[in-house]
């Protein structure tokens, strides 16, 4: 399938953005985008083999990438508030 060759190119471009991103929030945004792209690769893999139980991993991946992104951004916000005191 062509998805398997196009999505890794996007992933490499996102990772270059993560490396040169000037601030932390650029890197967090890149982390979120990488997680979404990888979910699409997982779905394509499961669709190639016609195995339904592989989709469980996609749901787990989406939810856990979301939780770590949100936790890091909440803690960054809290830090700035503590610095103002």
């Amino acid at each position: 399938m062509y998805i398997f060759w196009i999505i890794p190119v996007f992933l490499i471009l996102y990772i270059i953005r993560i490396i040169i991103g000037p601030s932390v929030w650029d890197r967090l945004l890149g982390m979120n985008l990488v997680a979404t792209k990888v979910v699409i690769i997982i779905i394509a893999f499961a669709s190639l083999y016609e195995l339904t139980y592989l989709l469980d991993f996609a749901i787990v991946y989406e939810i856990f990438g979301f939780i770590s992104t949100i936790f890091i951004s909440l803690f960054l916000m809290e830090r700035k508030k503590g610095g103002k005191k």
Binding site: F4, W5, P8, L11, I12, I15, I18, I19, V24, R27, L28, G30, M31, V34, A35, V38, I41, I42, F45, Y53, L54, D56, F57, I59, V60, Y61, I63, F64, G65, I67, S68, I70, F71, I72, L74, F75, L76, M77, E78, R79, K81, G82, G83
Partner: protein
């Protein structure tokens, strides 16, 4: 395509090693864990991939809590001496570790035995697991049937880790019972959506545990998913009303029950006397192991969070 992901994996590790600022290192660590989880998935191991994806959240959370709450702003300034002009002239101090590492690498490459992998055991396991232990997921059947010793000692190691964490961290009960108000500046939309997502996560963890013997998943993965529900609960309410002493007691009792059940079913062979289907043993063990992993991760997480605020 697997080579592209492995190359990204190596690049991520090089970034982590070369990075000098801690918070960037933690974000790179999160991305690295996600990419390694996909590599496990490509190798045909969805169980390990789910476990890695669930555990990557917890390692990221532990690092960020440790960095943020306990070091505060002091560490962020410079953890490594800045790369200035004096370090550039001092380049030759990097040469001995590089040479030593390359020497070990070449030695390892040349020292491997010349035998192909023996697939006898793999064929035996794959053809016999359904008759001997039951279930359809051969990984679950192996770690609950043939290799139950490993699971028991893993549970023991987790218990030892929790005991050492609770002994090393000082912690005042009274400030925990009151439940301090939140100082996270949250958006209403975030609170609402996380409230919608939390029951979905809890349900999904229970689904992973109960279907552990016929689809990827099992006690460890489902336990980590249920424990991440409590992470979300902390993000919404920011209170510490978890009775930690009681949870430690529950975990010890669950460990004893796990050992007793494994001894009864595997070593004595109780299921040959009783007219039970084989999946009853698998589901019960998965539930107990899931409860144990949940308790352990909750204890470690709340210890990390409540350490400073005594």
């Amino acid at each position: 395509m697997i080579y592209a992901f492995l190359t990204l994996w190596i690049v991520g590790a090089l970034l982590i090693i070369r990075e000098s600022k801690i918070i960037r290192m933690i974000i790179y660590l999160g991305i690295f864990s996600l990419i390694s989880s996909v590599c496990f998935y490509m190798f045909g191991a969805p169980d390990v991939a789910i476990a890695e994806a669930a555990i990557s959240v917890f390692s990221t959370v532990f690092f960020i809590v440790c960095f943020e709450k306990h070091f505060g702003l002091a560490v962020g300034v410079s953890d490594v001496t800045p790369e200035s002009a004096e370090n550039r002239t001092n380049l030759k101090k990097y040469i001995p570790p590089v040479v030593f590492t390359i020497f070990l690498f070449v030695l390892f490459i040349f020292f491997i035995p010349e035998n192909p992998a023996n697939s006898y055991l793999k064929d035996q396991y794959l053809s016999l697991f359904s008759r001997d232990v039951g279930g359809e997921n051969s990984v679950t059947s192996i770690y609950l049937g043939y290799r139950v010793y490993d699971t028991l000692f893993e549970a023991l190691m987790l218990l030892v880790g929790i005991v050492s964490v609770t002994h090393l961290s000082r912690y005042c009960e009274t400030s925990v019972k009151e439940g301090k108000p939140s100082d996270i500046n949250r958006a209403d939309i975030a609170v609402f959506t996380i409230r919608v997502i939390c029951p979905v996560m809890l349900l999904f963890g229970i689904y992973l545990i109960l279907n552990g013997h016929i689809s990827p998943g099992g006690g460890f993965q489902g336990g980590a998913a249920i424990a991440s529900f409590f992470v979300c609960r902390y993000m919404i309410y920011d209170i510490y009303d978890i009775p930690i002493e009681r949870i430690i007691m529950v975990e010890k009792i669950i460990y004893v029950v796990v050992v007793l059940l494994a001894v009864l079913f595997i070593f004595i062979g109780l299921h040959s006397f009783l007219p039970l289907p084989q999946s009853v043993y698998l589901i019960t063990m998965n539930l107990l192991i899931g409860a144990k992993v949940t308790c352990g991760l909750i204890i470690i997480f709340y210890r990390f969070i409540a350490f400073e605020r005594r």
